[in-house]
């Protein structure tokens, strides 16, 4: 009788422990697919920023004769920031707060960059027009 009760108690403890373990893993587990996608987007911000910078330099050096690549790079960066706003749950509350603060800073920098690129396109176009005028004077 006692042996049976001990066995049942032990079984109950094992089952309860297993349930607790399952609950813990459900709460604390990391969704690797989500984690990878989010990490990829974070790294992509750096890559996309570098691409944008490169395209501005190319445009400034007349190695690129249209502004669509600048517009696309900025659009990609904006879309990345939109996606990054959805912080994965597994990061925890304090990490999410920290990340959101950094994202806000990054968004402010992006807005500033956007404005600078706009000004660059406008001024660069006028500069190119003036170059064509000066070239035409030289050939006269």
């Amino acid at each position: 009788m006692n042996a049976s009760r001990t066995l049942r108690s032990s079984l109950a403890i094992v089952v309860a422990g297993f349930v607790c373990l399952l609950a813990y893993s459900a709460v604390e587990s990391v969704d690797y697919a989500e984690e990878q996608a989010y990490s990829r987007d974070l790294r992509r911000v750096q890559a996309a920023t570098a691409e944008l910078n490169e395209r501005v330099l190319k445009s400034r050096s007349a190695l690129m004769t249209q502004y669509d690549p600048l517009v696309h790079a900025l659009r990609d960066l904006r879309q990345l920031h939109e996606r990054l706003k959805r912080v994965p749950d597994f990061l925890g509350a304090s990490a999410a707060v920290d990340l959101r603060a950094q994202l806000q800073k990054s968004e402010a920098q992006l807005r500033e960059k956007d404005e600078l690129v706009e000004n660059f396109k406008t001024h660069n176009s006028v500069f190119k027009i003036r170059c064509t005028i000066s070239r035409s004077w030289q050939t006269r």
């Binding site: 004769t65 249209q66 669509d68 706009e118 396109k121 406008t122 190119k128 027009i129 064509t132």
Partner: protein, 341 residues
Amino acid sequence: MPRHRPVISRDCWLAILLVAHTIVTLLGCEHRQKFDDSEPVESSSFGDQPIEPLPLTVDFDPARAALGEALFAEPKMSGDSKVACTDCHHEGHGLADDKPHSSVSGRPDSAVNSPTMYNVRFLYKLSWGGKFESLESHIDALMVNPKVMASSWELATKQLSEVASYRQKFASVFPDGLTPSNVRLAILDYERSLVTPNAPFDQYLRGDAQAVSPEVKRGYAMFKSYGCSSCHQGVAIGGNLFERIGVLRDFFADRGHFDNADLGRFNVTQRDQDRFVFRVPSLRNVALTAPYFHDGSAATLEAAVTDMANYQLGRDLPERDRSALVAFLRSLTGEYRGQSL
């Protein structure tokens, strides 16, 4: 100890340097001349060009777009059931307005010229001042604007639901049938479908050297050498930057007056540097969309080219160059649904 005289004197060195400099300069000029844009491009194997052809196919839902096309011409979309989108964007006029300022029933005249709707998906901002960042934000604003549709998605849906054919069509396209959200989606898909590829000049850019005349090729060379392509470039040949109207000569001083709409981007940003600044319009199908500029002040393509050369490039164009430029611009008229516009 006798002092050695140098084999080549200092004067001689100077002379050699001078000759070398002259040779290098002349070579540089020759090199530059080789790439002079005033020479027509004869080869169809282009390098980096300021203009890109429009894609031959684009993504959109044809069933939704067909529904959106019907809604585009539907007065029930407006609050008073009197105004349709086609009242300002005429199909027979490159989906633009043939009047300088649109004038429709029960509305004040528009402050600016209504631009074409073709290829809007390639523009990075919409409206002359670039107020809208996306097609979505643009149509949302136009729906509630009392000077335009004076409506709402809910009101338009209610008015459309009175028509049995709309209820049936929406039910066949959308699982949840006629809803404000689906009305909006249908219009958006129609706007995204408005792409006009395969213009003669696009065919030329894709390698068909016979697709355009020598006059068009000369016009393209002029387009680049005069500096038009400084602003009008990319797949839409414009539409991807802002520029002041009257870069080198004062457009508004010559016109003699200006009003609030002439402030352009300033009306959006309130920054002084944006006064008289506008989104550079796309030149796709430009031959179909007269009159030109935000104020519709240029009645013909020839007048628009003359004014742009004058105010933006500081040039007075010889007639021969102007004709070539106009011929080039006419070669930018594309096809819609396989038919030349």
